[in-house]
């Protein structure tokens, strides 16, 4: 797989705020790369630097080995969705896509084709001012697809979509990656990327925290827990503790065990002849792993009440 987007040592500050600090990563074809970080981490700034919209103070960003601003028909190489709200309210959706197509020598029929792909054909002649957020998002995705590009960069594409739309776009992105394209998706919600991303670039406060595959990240996270419901609570507690598990009682009949796999718990109970009414494993989610990693890098955290040592 080639590296289609290469960022090396990207840095940018706005006044005294360091937005991006020495960021180096690559985005490869044939997979979905999630670009994750808390709000304000520098994701949008990084994307803008890759697209030549903002000039980095240091470092370079290359697309297909070249700086973006040197591309002659960039929409045929990179499809972008940065801001779904960037629409002139008086302009019809069709014309919004038409001028984009014309700017890169794309035929007008591409406009109707991408509108159809995202399901906006019925409102093609409606002025963008009347669009809901979800419709604007779809229009933005349509714009990214105009040039049938091998690279896609999308900033928060799921934002504003209804559940049906969210499911659609997940499958859509995976399909694009399966076709061999490089899909680069920024999000501040890891749960969105859970079933979509293959690879993750995690940043916080402008700095790279992790550049890893999803499987590796899940593997390195602390294991999940197992919930057990049984009438023989105290016996089970003793047995599991003796086997090395950390057991917490969460109800008259329920326990939560960490440190032991669900299969081990079941085996230990069966060996003693203790019936279990419920055995539910909770795998570490991507969200948990991500939160563990970025706990210290969150810039804007709501104050937490009742926490020792005062919330941030």
């Amino acid at each position: 797989m080639d590296a289609l987007i290469e960022a090396r040592g990207l840095s940018k500050r706005f006044g005294r705020t360091i937005a991006v600090d020495d960021l180096t990563f690559s985005v490869r074809s044939g997979q979905v790369t999630g670009f994750v970080g808390p709000n304000g981490a520098g994701k949008s700034t990084t994307m803008r630097m890759i697209l030549g919209l903002d000039a980095p103070d240091h470092g370079t960003a290359l697309v297909n080995g070249r700086p973006y601003r040197s591309l002659r028909t960039p929409l045929r190489q990179v499809g972008t969705l940065l801001d779904a709200m960037a629409l002139h309210p008086g302009r019809r959706a069709y014309h919004h896509l038409l001028w984009l197509a014309q700017s890169n020598d794309l035929p007008a029929r591409r406009v109707t084709e991408v509108l159809d792909t995202v399901g906006l054909t019925p409102v093609a002649q409606r002025r963008a001012g009347g669009f809901s957020l979800g419709m604007r998002q779809r229009l933005g995705i349509a714009a990214a697809l105009l040039g049938d590009p091998p690279i896609l960069m999308l900033d928060e594409p799921v934002n504003g979509l209804d559940p049906e739309g969210v499911v659609w776009i997940r499958g859509f992105l995976r399909g694009l990656a399966a076709e061999g394209r490089a899909v680069f998706v920024a999000s501040h919600l890891m749960s969105e990327l859970e079933d979509t991303a293959d690879h993750l670039v995690i940043i916080g406060r402008g700095r790279l925290i992790a550049d890893t595959s999803v499987t590796d990240l899940l593997g390195s996270a602390s294991n999940g827990s197992v919930t057990v419901r049984t009438p023989h609570r105290s016996e089970i507690m003793t047995v599991l503790a003796a086997a090395g598990g950390v057991v917490t009682s969460t109800g008259s009949e329920t326990l939560t065990v960490t440190g032991l796999a669900a299969e081990r718990v079941a085996q230990l109970a069966a060996d003693r002849g203790l019936p279990l009414y419920e055995l539910t494993p909770h795998r570490a989610s991507l969200e948990d792993a991500y939160l563990q990693l970025t706990r210290d890098e969150v810039e804007f955290a709501a104050g937490r009440r009742g926490e020792n040592g005062a919330g941030r």
């Binding site: 803008r48 919209l53 903002d54």
Partner: protein, 271 residues
């Protein structure tokens, strides 16, 4: 060049697909014709100019062509709005980033926008000037501007008339370029429109309050007063003391400075 044609097509689509453009063009033409009509309807040869009795020396020197084209003073306001919005509207909606993502050669984008906007204003201005002139003629004749009073019949094919009418259209195109450049530099609709309108009208107003020597200086070097010299077909005591084409050149210089600044700013600044 392939890039040029792509940029021109895209910018033209952008301009024509926004409802404000049609409104501005209609206002441009409507206001120009309206004011020209009003002026033509209200002047006559009975000495309502500065101290004139028919037959006396210095009389019979109303510049009928200039008067018939005076509507441009009003119509240019629509030009300013149109040209400023063509660029500040993109900044306001965030579409600028989309434009520079699709067309990273920013200088080409600005050039394309300039050609499209100025071209539209040139065309609309030409239609407006011709219409204003043609509509004013019978009214002026009715008000006494006839050969017997020293006013020969003028037509569009006469060289001074063609120059005045075509020059008025050129004037509008140059005002459009000045507005576009200012809008690109300031990025804010209200600020840019106010600045350009101030640049056009303030010297005019100031000139009215100044004594002769200072007034002539201001008129020679201000964009509107100098630029409108192109409409002049009769030399009068109160004519702006600058050549007809030189005056337009002054306006062109202002527009060039604004556009030069715009090019620098657009290419170098973050989008």
């Amino acid at each position: 060049m392939a890039v040029a044609s792509r940029v021109l097509r895209a910018e033209w689509t952008k301009l024509r697909s926004v409802p404000g453009t049609a409104v501005a063009v209609a206002a441009l033409m409507g206001l120009t014709v309206l004011l020209s009509y009003a002026v033509a309807a209200s002047i006559d040869t009975s000495g309502s100019g500065p101290g004139c009795t028919p037959g006396a020396p210095g009389c019979g020197d109303e510049d009928v062509v200039l008067n018939a084209l005076s509507g441009v003073v009003l119509g240019q306001i629509a030009v300013v709005a149109l040209a400023v919005l063509a660029i500040t509207g993109e900044y306001a909606t965030g579409t600028t980033r989309l434009t520079f993502t699709a067309m990273p050669r920013r200088a080409a984008v600005l050039a394309g926008k300039a050609v499209v906007v100025a071209g539209l204003c040139l065309l609309a201005g030409l239609v407006a000037s011709v219409a204003a002139f043609v509509i004013a003629q019978p009214i002026l004749h009715g008000n006494g501007f006839v050969p017997a009073q020293g006013y020969p019949v003028v037509s569009l094919t006469d060289e001074p008339v063609a120059r005045a009418v075509g020059g008025t259209a050129l004037y509008m195109a140059l005002v459009a370029l000045l507005s576009l450049g200012t809008g690109a530099i300031m990025r804010h609709t209200g600020a840019a429109i106010t600045t350009v309108l101030g640049l056009l009208f303030a010297p005019f107003v100031a000139a009215l309050l100044l004594p002769e020597h200072a007034r002539e200086l201001v008129q020679k070097y201000s964009p509107m007063t100098a630029g409108l010299a192109i409409q002049r077909t009769v030399e009068r005591v109160d004519s702006v003391p600058i050549g007809v084409w030189a005056g337009l050149g002054v306006l062109a210089a202002y527009a060039a400075v604004a556009l030069a600044g715009a090019f620098v700013v657009i290419v170098r600044r973050d989008a």
